[in-house]
């Protein structure tokens, strides 16, 4: 295995990580400008990676069309939409009226539709989970009911203590558990970051040893 494929990503990760971390800790002008340049590179690389994403879509959908796979007609629609939107955006910028028509009348409503469907997905998941099958799920059911009665106006009408009890569950049990998970995850992420910087963790770029 070549040094470029095996060691170079580790060294790049180490150098970039050390420079950015040092910039965070020390206030040196030379370090600040280097860190700023690296951050700009990252933004440029991320922007270029969208080209890779577009190529990936074109390659895959072209194969589907050539092989006449199931639903290949939708791949044609996708390719036309991709090139159409790209073409209009390149010719007339993102403020072009046709581009705005695509964005405001197609993209935005579809986005909002999916967003609003979250409520139904949530109801479906909640219905399946919140059932008193065992002790733990019974506790979950009670907590869910209390929090629902805290938030729904009818809760206070039934009994004024519901909002206080629901609030106790959220600020007590839920916040405590949440903070425990967050502290644990923060410590683990520091450990993971150090392993990447020291080159101990290489599986993120495909090396198993």
């Amino acid at each position: 295995m070549s040094i470029i494929r095996r060691d170079l990503p580790v060294w790049i990760a180490f150098l970039v990580g050390v420079i950015l971390l040092s910039d965070y800790v020390f206030s040196l002008p030379a370090l600040k400008s280097t860190a700023s340049t690296i951050t700009n590179w990252a933004v440029i690389v991320t922007a270029f990676s969208f080209g890779i994403g577009a190529l990936n879509i074109i390659q895959r959908q072209s194969k589907v069309i050539i092989r006449r796979e199931k639903y290949w007609i939708y791949s044609i629609v996708l390719i036309i939409t991709l090139f159409g939107t790209l073409g209009i955006g390149l010719i007339g910028t993102i403020n072009h009226p046709y581009y705005r028509i695509i964005f405001d009348n197609m993209m935005a409503p579809l986005n909002v539709t999916m967003s609003s469907m979250l409520a139904f997905f949530l109801a479906s998941a909640a219905f399946r989970v919140i059932r008193a099958k065992n002790f733990e799920s019974a506790l979950l059911l009670i907590a869910a009911l209390l929090v629902m009665l805290q938030n729904a106006p009818i809760g206070q009408l039934i009994w004024p203590g519901f909002p206080i009890l629901g609030d106790f569950f959220i600020t007590g049990f839920a916040a405590g558990g949440n903070r425990g998970i967050q502290i644990g995850a923060a410590i683990a992420s520091i450990g993971f970051g150090i392993r990447i910087l020291l080159g101990q963790e290489k599986r993120w770029f495909g090396r198993s040893e």
């Binding site: 951050t39 933004v43 979250l118 479906s124 989970v129 998970i181 683990a188 992420s189 599986r203 495909g206």
Partner: protein, 220 residues
């Protein structure tokens, strides 16, 4: 994961893996705060790909961050190469869907319906799309494993998925799957540090309850 991939082989249907949306829409990806979660998810992808290569399961991986596509291609290719099954690697199964959150979720719902996935593995950084994706897979009766360090989507994946990796478990999973003694030692050190921190918190709490202001002493 073994159980899920074995199930996919028995049913003759594919395994799906995704690192999630990871703030792709807001110039996120591995350069953002989601970066570590995404990279940790990618280390688990290697293990999933290896299991799929060993057992002959089809692996479909989907992305909202395009910069992860070449990285994932390399990880999966390496896993298939290590099992001497490079000829079974399908580059078209590494798919960039969209960097828009709901377009990504819709794309996955369509993919699930077309491919009839048997197992859905989600390890990475998730937003609201986690619910749509996990529920979409659940409707197909797919076996699901999910892991994330974020707390906002944990109730969702905890409610829907068969197995979950929460918080630090998610970062530890990659090490747990590894045989490397150095990495396991690092995890042990991390655990000891955590126990020390818990002990310090308890002691500080007792001292504060007894009426001493510990913050003043720490500042001295």
């Amino acid at each position: 994961m073994e159980e899920g991939i074995g199930r996919a082989v028995e049913l003759g249907r594919p395994v799906h893996w995704t690192p999630g949306y990871g703030s792709a829409e807001h110039a996120g990806g591995i350069g953002s705060t989601s970066g570590l979660s995404l990279l940790s998810g990618m280390t688990i992808l290697g293990h999933v790909a290896k299991l799929c290569a060993q057992r002959g399961a089809d692996l479909i991986s989907t992305f909202a961050n395009p910069e992860l596509v070449p990285l994932a291609t390399e990880i999966i290719k390496e896993a298939f190469r290590s099992e001497n099954k490079l000829d079974e690697f399908k580059s078209e199964n590494v798919q960039f869907i969209s960097s828009r959150q709901y377009a990504f979720a819709t794309g996955l719902l369509g993919l699930f319906q077309r491919e009839k996935i048997a197992t859905n593995i989600m390890t990475g950084s998730f937003g609201a799309e986690a619910l749509i994706v996990a529920e979409g897979a659940q409707m197909l009766g797919a076996f699901q494993v999910a892991g994330s360090d974020g707390t906002t989507q944990l109730p969702v994946i905890f409610a829907i998925c068969d197995y979950t990796l929460i918080g630090e478990e998610f970062f530890a999973a990659a090490v747990y799957l590894s045989d490397d003694p150095i990495q396991r030692g690092a995890l042990r050190g991390q655990d000891l540090f955590k126990f020390g921190l818990i002990a310090f918190t308890i002691v500080a709490m007792i001292i504060t309850v007894l009426g001493f202001n510990i913050v003043t002493y720490l500042k001295m």
